[in-house]
């Protein structure tokens, strides 16, 4: 317990952790402020204003069409006739239905529809933060010699590394849970003031809870991967280098080459698709080079659906491989 306490204190004391958490919270605050400022509640006044604007736009369109018709009739038999239809009655006559007042309403925040996107946004920002904090937490210990000092006090390598990882995961878990709770509350306020909270049935809340649980798992996985990679290389740069390597090699290089070679579903190698599948429960990738002909719908591209259990499986395999390798090297390699 004393080691766990020490590692938790070490994690919290680090200025790098504090700055990175503060930076992430500032970004989230900016997003929250942006959503708040760009949305409005649909009050009777706002609806009346939107309807008035729709009517005005309709009338302007009718006037324009009438004017166009006059010009069309006048142009008949002249060289300008080619710019108009041969029958001026073919000019489109706008209808009031074309100018739905809802299109003139300012954006409104619907909690039941829009909040899950906000949870994904928080998960992505926190996952990036957790990866870097996790990498630095153990990487800086290795490169500064702190790990060696600690092992002189507690010569149980797996216990030391395991306790560090647990302290990191508990810390990140508590932070993410608190942030998600605050995020939910704040967006509830945004929806109340600048949108609507209707449609939040028990089932909808359950869906929000499951999305937030998956968000927490994503953040913790990122933290553990950063920690494991930095531990393998005994330096923070190892984790960051691996992340950059994956982005350059797979996200740009390999996918570009495979796409040029018209390989089916090359996008399936893109990490964001898997993250999206994990958060949104599924994601569909289409192969635009293929054609599944249907007599009713014509040529349809072939599709590959990545589901959240598939994405979860990939996350779990990556986690086991990286953390397992980190533990194995910690146990077997000399500390020099």
């Amino acid at each position: 317990m004393s080691l766990y306490k020490a590692e938790t204190r070490r994690l919290i004391k680090r200025r790098f952790t504090k700055w990175l958490v503060a930076g992430s919270l500032v970004v989230l605050a900016a997003i929250l402020a942006g959503i708040f400022l760009t949305n409005q509640k649909s009050s009777p006044e706002v609806i009346a204003k939107a309807k008035a604007e729709a009517t005005q736009q309709y009338q302007q369109a009718v006037q324009r069409t009438a004017s166009d018709k006059q010009a069309c009739v006048a142009a008949q038999g002249t060289p300008n006739a080619s710019q108009w239809p041969s029958n001026c009655d073919d000019l489109y006559q706008p209808t009031p239905e074309d100018f739905d007042y809802r299109s003139y309403m300012p954006s409104t925040f619907e909690f039941s529809k829009n909040f899950t996107v906000m949870v994904t946004t928080l998960a992505a920002i926190f996952a990036l933060m957790a990866f870097v904090i996790g990498a630095s937490f153990v990487g800086a210990e290795w490169s500064s010699g702190g790990m060696m000092n600690l092992l002189l006090w507690r010569p149980q390598r797996l216990k030391v590394l395991g306790t560090k990882l647990v302290a990191l995961l508990v810390g990140m878990g508590v932070l993410t849970a608190a942030a998600l709770a605050a995020w939910t509350g704040l967006f509830w306020i945004v929806a109340t003031l600048r949108g609507t909270t209707t449609g939040m049935t028990a089932g909808a809340w359950q869906s929000v809870a499951l999305t937030e649980t998956r968000a927490t798992v994503l953040v913790l996985t990122a933290a553990a991967l950063g920690f494991g990679l930095a531990s393998l290389g005994r330096h923070t740069a190892m984790a960051l280098g691996a992340a950059i390597g994956v982005v350059i090699l797979f996200q740009f290089g390999l996918v570009t080459v495979l796409s040029m070679a018209k390989v089916k579903f090359a996008e399936a190698l893109l990490v964001p698709y898997w993250v999206q599948a994990w958060m949104d429960k599924s994601v569909k990738i289409e192969d635009y080079n293929s054609c599944d002909f249907s007599s009713t719908q014509g040529c349809q591209p072939a599709t590959l659906t990545i589901t959240w259990p598939m994405a979860g499986g990939v996350l779990a395999v990556a986690l086991v491989l990286v953390v397992g390798a980190a533990m194995w090297t910690m146990r077997s390699r000399d500390v020099t």
């Binding site: 080691l3 070490r10 680090r14 500064s144 702190g146 006090w153 507690r154 010569p155």
Partner: protein, 328 residues
Amino acid sequence: MSAVLEIAGLQKTYRSRKGVRRALDGFDMVVESGQVHGFLGPNGSGKTTTLRTLLGLIKPNGGRMVLLGREVPAALPEVAGQVGAIVESPQFFGPFTAKDTLSLLADAGGVDQRRVTEVLELVGLRDRAKERVKTYSLGMKQRLAVASALLKQPQLLILDEPANGLDPGGIREMRTLMRNLAESGMTVLLSSHILGEIQLICDSVTIISAGRRVATGSVADVLAQHASTSVRVRVESDLDMPAAAEALRAAGAEVRLEHDHLMVANVDKPALITRALAARDLYVSELAPVSVDLESVFLELTGTAPVEGQNRQVDQSAMSPAQGAWGQ
């Protein structure tokens, strides 16, 4: 007196593309309780490898190690609380203060936080304890390292080059600290290159070269075993030195002619020298036995004495290259 530390036949081999290097080649060492024991050896001789292996940082390829009566590394977690150690240069996380650094170690080791203030006072860092370690000089970091080793009030204190970076006052303070700790019953294993210091404060020494023990025992015994019976002799006129050398050789002595004196060995009694010289009308102006010091013994045993016109390489020491060089 019981042994606090016993090492027998310790082996460590490093393999690389360049070949195999035996860093420790059957090394033996015994440190008795309550002593200040010096651990000497040239660069690359295996000192730090020995200490790292003893402390569980490196896995040995063979041999046996016993710390405080328990076989390690198996029992290291149980005895680690009674062993304070610094290995090589002091390394700490720079952005933390000295107080935070020690406080975190105290938490990790289950040591009372009040001990942090005590050791900071002891090593002279009390007034700078709230400054970040990265602003510290090498000497201050060294003091902090000693403080971290003392934090758990160990029975055995292992210090690798503790005087490194310390100013003369700091070295003297460190010497007094070692002595006081030993008097309080703590055993101190001290690795150092400052042989004068070792001779002053150590009760016993072990000398390692090319991964093997080349000498061990009390400082007095080691010096006695390697003390020569050389005598420095001057005669009234330097012009008489060749004749004096010839006279002494004729009397059975080994004589080395230096530029203003003779070094005479293999003589039982200095009186034989005066008698042999007087017989040829040569008169002695100085006759002084040459005392041996730890440095000369060290250089002799490890074969690392500088030779004019030669640049000695790190792995060139006694018993190398047969056991120590790369590519064996």
